[in-house]
């Protein structure tokens, strides 16, 4: 196993409506909905979901709202309640009413709330998507309200800040850009039509459109993708008829991917460390593979997202180069002596990747290959010293160390420990660490980490599947079976084979 799924796949938990508790409904703050399962209240505002193979306690912090149909009224406890009860009255919403009246009111309230929650759940279908327009964007989305509002405000602020920093005046007839936001990765792939592995895209021909998804377990990652893809649109504002070549277009977009916007001060901080990409660069040079600068600039390659990002980060961070790099970027559409290639749509033109080197060297003041080599040396030295800074960065580095061939479990364990020490809050971090430990035979510790992951988010089937394997490894076969069935109940779409199949393979 060991394949880490995009967490957003594991979201809707729908069971047969004929099941007991069919009318109960639980909505989580991140938009997930549990229906068709019996619910009960627990202390501290928590709610217990009763699955056939076990009860799952959902913390109040995750819960938006819920409905428990036919819940018995609380027994009278105060003297006043006891006295009124003797008269055949009960308290409901601050008034003393007959039990029948109370039951009618409860049924009405339940129906109203259920209708509201149903409405909320129905908006996850793209045909019932929300639409909302702001000054520069026309949104269509299926996100929970709170998550959407953060992104909406962020994008407007980003637009303004980028135009200010790069001295761009958007064309007056530009109109609002259509932005499609999806509540999970699967929906993004299905409705957005992107291929597996793509995280977001900007359609740069008319009608222009931006598509990306909300990763509920990693909102920072969602922002990274938003900053990246929106940057492609902002790049177009420099010259709407020009399409930037892969480098520097994708690399600058990645540079802006690591940004932070403070809603209070309205300040956009750019040039942060894009730790996911940094870990890819680090993996390359740990393998002994250092990127050649000329090759990077003249060749179309995936590494524009990784090494290209690091180059832009280096140039934008160095006082000697930042203005020169910005000049290179903004003047590329009108670079002299370079053949422009018509793209056959919307009067768009571009330049070939191999032709980018000339304008780059000219703008950076590099007279010959020797100067280019010297810049490469500086860049490599800079990259070597770039640090990981957050739990998320350590977690990504750990995951890479654990999953790339050949795996480096010793390093991965250290990095996971550092991520945890820095206060990792993503349950997937615990899950991934547990997966590693399980593979290494440390089942007891893995089990503990899976339990911690479940405390953070108890409605991810993958965690129970992990626990099932750990239980099996410890010889607890019945518990393993129960947990694997519970995993399937929680996430009917879990793609792994069942425990029985796993045992068949091992025979």
């Amino acid at each position: 196993m060991g394949g880490i799924l995009r967490s957003a796949r594991l979201v809707v938990l729908v069971a047969a409506l004929a099941a007991p508790g069919a009318a109960d409904l639980l909505c989580l703050k991140d938009g997930r909905v549990v229906e068709g399962r019996k619910l009960s209240r627990a202390e501290g505002g928590n709610v217990v979901v009763h699955f056939e193979n076990g009860d799952v306690r959902v913390p109040a912090a995750l819960i938006e709202d819920y409905v428990i149909e036919g819940e018995p009224p609380l027994a009278p406890t105060t003297p006043e309640e006891i006295a009124q009860a003797e008269k055949g009255l009960v308290r409901f919403e601050g008034k003393w009413v007959t039990p029948r009246r109370r039951d009618d009111l409860i049924a009405k309230r339940v129906a109203e709330r259920k209708a509201e929650l149903d409405e909320l759940a129905s908006h996850r279908l793209w045909r019932n998507r929300y639409t909302e327009s702001t000054k520069h964007f026309a949104f269509e989305h299926t996100l929970p309200r709170d998550a959407f509002e953060v992104l909406r405000d962020l994008m407007e602020a980003y637009f303004a800040a980028f135009c200010r920093d790069w001295r761009i005046k958007p064309p007056k007839d530009l109109g609002a850009l259509k932005v499609c936001l999806y509540h999970d990765y699967d929906t993004f792939l299905q409705v957005g039509g992107a291929g597996q592995g793509v995280l977001g895209y900007f359609r740069f021909v008319k009608p222009m459109e931006l598509n990306f998804f909300y990763d509920r377990l990693d909102p920072e990652f969602t922002e990274e993708v938003m900053f990246h893809e929106t940057n492609h649109y902002l790049q177009k504002l420099i010259d709407v008829d020009f399409s930037y070549p892969h480098f520097p277009g994708e690399s600058l977009a990645e540079y802006y991917g690591a940004s932070h916007f403070d809603p209070k001060t309205k300040k956009l901080t750019t040039g942060l460390i894009l730790e996911g990409r940094l870990t890819e660069v680090q993996t390359d040079f740990q393998r002994g593979e250092w990127m050649d600068l000329e090759k990077l600039i003249t060749t179309e390659m995936y590494e524009h997202y990784t090494w290209g990002w690091s180059l832009v980060h280096f140039l934008m961070s160095e006082k000697r180069y930042d203005a020169k790099f910005q000049k290179f970027f903004t003047s590329l559409p009108v670079a002299k002596g370079i053949r422009k290639v018509e793209m056959g749509r919307d009067n768009l033109r571009t330049i070939e990747q191999k032709d980018v080197l000339g304008p780059f060297m000219e703008a950076l003041g590099l007279k010959d290959k020797e100067a280019l080599g010297a810049l490469q040396k500086e860049w490599h030295a800079y990259v070597k010293e770039l640090p990981l800074v957050s739990a998320r960065g350590y977690e990504e580095a750990a995951y890479k160390a654990a999953s790339m061939y050949p795996p480096r479990p010793i390093k991965a364990k250290r990095l996971f420990e550092e991520a945890l020490a820095l206060g990792a809050k993503n349950p997937m971090t615990y899950h991934r660490f547990a997966e590693l430990l399980h593979r290494e035979g440390e089942h007891e510790r893995a089990l503990g980490l899976w339990k911690q992951a479940i405390e953070m988010d108890p409605l991810i089937g993958e965690f129970y599947w992990g626990m099932a394997r750990a239980a099996r490894a410890k010889g607890k076969k019945d518990e393993a079976k129960r947990l694997s069935k519970l995993a399937r109940e929680i996430d009917p779409e879990i793609w792994h084979v069942d425990l029985e199949d796993l045992e068949a393979v091992d025979k």
Binding site: L125, R127, G192, R203, E229, E300, Y305, I410, V505
Partner: protein
């Protein structure tokens, strides 16, 4: 403008990966459906349904390994879509019927760990990739982003029906489309009748589509009955070391696969198709027979040429006789490909080559495609390890030269110069971009394929030109050059054998596990580089052994003659 996730490391696959097609289960994988066509109705007495496809639409055969689709039709006339300020596309409406048999849907992956006379191996049969229609669509639809725009329940002839309207709007290949699918929920099977048409043509086609949907009826299952989880089979993946088998054992498996594929292809042949056998192919034809026989003759001639020119490659190996399917046109070929399973020769996939009549007078890519597939199949079955280990210059060179070969009127295979290759080469020579063969032959895959598309295609032309020079040009007559390709392949094979022997000798040896992070980093670095080093070493060794004793003057002479032949 899209952010990709980095590709998975390829270190676990590569030239020496060993897979062998698993033999089909007995009886053959899936029963053919007794079909009755004519009088406007299509009847399936296995699944027990009938419906009236739109008039003038053409039945499209089901793929040999298809296990979910039970019926496929294509409209005769295309509809058109013009993008604002962009291109005009055409699309032919299509109809599919997909059957979700309850028992099959409930089945899970089945893993069979066998130990028999042929050795210890594991067979994985994947029986249930799809849960229902929407799941099927999610996993198989790849022509644009879609969403269910409407969904309602109806009852038709006492059968519960879920009616889906689906809009395909984003990143579509040929314009926005609409899918109308009705899923008929019958006691043991859910039948999805699915139409996909251009959105702008829907209003015009709506009555036709609805008439077909409303014509759906259940009929008695009077023939073989429904497939079950066992009889339906499923994609079978056999994991074992091919080299442990004898050529006879491999032959027995391939013959079994071949028979099953041929039988299935004939059984599922729709009305209007014809079949004939050529020397090496079972030809299924839906275009004019003269063209089909010419294509088959071409493929046979190329096969014979390979047998003669490379007789030393896997001489004891049996090459399956493929199904050569020639569709009426490109649309039909595309519709045929749209299936639920993979379509490579590896695994248990049938050996099948699909092409069409492109009305290009036998010079177009449709015939070249057949040639290339013949080359790939022949080499893969004769010596898969050798084929996967071929350096790019040789693989692309063979594709280019043999792909563009054509038979003359007397049936002889000819290797006339290819315009694309020759003109491109001349341009590269003029611009000083053409690399010398002694450099081309040293390129590993990363160097060959990296860079711009122009570089890649340029190297394709150079490879084609050089292999052509050696196999069919003046080089084929030169005393030092006439056997160079064959010698090179022999040396390559010899080196592969040495590597395999060395690896076999190491099997069972326990590698020391790194104990510290530093040791781990060093191990990671060494392993990461090992694949590239192995390829580098293979290319260098094959080169050194082939050109041992060649001086710069020898190379100068060869290259001078080669460039002269191109110019």
């Amino acid at each position: 403008m899209a952010i990709p996730i980095a590709a998975l490391p390829l270190a676990l696959c590569g030239p020496l990966a060993l897979f062998l097609p698993a033999p089909p289960a007995a009886p053959p994988a899936a029963p053919a459906h007794p079909l009755a066509q004519g009088s406007g109705w299509h009847q399936d007495t296995d699944f027990g349904f009938k419906l009236k496809p739109p008039r003038d639409w053409t039945p499209v055969p089901l793929r040999i390994d298809e296990r979910w689709q039970v019926l496929k039709y294509l409209a005769d006339r295309p509809n058109f879509y013009t993008e604002k300020g962009g291109y005009t596309y055409q699309h032919k409406p299509e109809m599919l019927v997909i059957a979700f048999v309850d028992e099959v849907v409930r089945k899970k992956a089945e893993v069979d760990h066998k130990k028999d006379a042929e050795g210890d191996h594991t067979v994985i049969v994947l029986k249930n990739p799809y849960k229902d229609y929407l799941d099927y669509l999610k996993r198989t639809h790849s022509e644009g982003g879609y969403y269910v725009s409407d969904e309602r329940k109806e009852k038709l002839n006492d059968v519960e029906v879920t009616c889906y309207e689906i809009k395909v709007e984003k990143l579509t290949r040929t314009g926005p489309k609409r899918i109308v699918a009705w899923v008929f929920h019958t006691p043991e099977v859910d039948f999805a009748v699915h139409f996909e048409v251009l959105e702008n043509a829907y209003d015009k086609l709506e009555r036709t589509l609805l008439a077909t949907l409303r014509s759906f009826q259940l009929i008695p299952r009077t023939s073989g009955g429904l497939p079950t989880g066992d009889t339906l089979g499923g994609p079978r993946i056999l994991i074992e070391d091919q080299r442990k088998l004898t050529p006879e054992q491999r032959k027995a498996r391939r013959v079994s696969l071949e028979k099953a594929a041929h039988a299935r292809a004939r059984e599922t042949m729709p009305e209007g198709w014809s079949a004939f056998e050529s020397k090496h192919f079972l030809v299924l034809n839906h275009t004019d027979e003269k063209y089909a026989r010419r294509v088959a003759g071409q493929a046979d001639a190329l096969w014979e040429w390979l047998e003669t020119a490379f007789a030393f490659v896997g001489p004891d190996e049996y090459v399956r006789s493929p199904v050569l399917r020639i569709c009426a046109n490109r649309d039909e070929m595309s519709a045929y490909y749209k299936g639920s399973e993979g379509w490579y020769f590896v695994g248990s996939s049938p050996a099948e080559i699909v092409s069409h009549n492109d009305n290009s007078g036998f010079v177009g890519y449709a015939v070249e495609w057949v040639n290339r597939q013949v080359v790939m199949l022949w080499f893969q079955e004769r010596d898969r390890d050798l084929w996967y280990a071929m350096p790019s210059w040789l693989e692309y060179g063979l594709y280019q030269v043999l792909g563009t070969s054509r038979t003359s009127r007397n049936g002889k295979l000819e290797f006339k110069p290819d315009d694309w290759e020759r003109d491109g080469m001349r341009e590269r020579i003029r611009e000083g971009k053409a690399v010398r063969p002694r450099e081309l032959l040293r390129l590993v895959q990363e160097d060959f394929a990296s860079g711009s598309g122009e570089t890649f295609w340029g190297r394709n032309k150079e490879s084609g030109a050089f292999v052509r020079y050696l196999l069919a040009g003046p080089g084929a007559r030169g005393p030092r050059s006439k056997d160079l390709v064959r010698d090179y392949i022999k040396h390559l094979r010899a080196r592969i054998t040495e590597i395999q022997a060395a690896e076999d000798a190491k099997k069972g040896e326990k590698e020391a596990k790194p104990k510290t992070e530093e040791e781990e980093e060093a191990y990671f670095k060494a392993k990461s580089q090992s694949w590239k080093q192995r390829e580098r070493e293979l290319v260098d060794q094959a080169f050194e052994r082939t050109f041992r004793g060649w001086s710069d003057a020898d190379w100068d002479e060869l290259e001078k003659a080669y460039f002269k032949s191109v110019d």
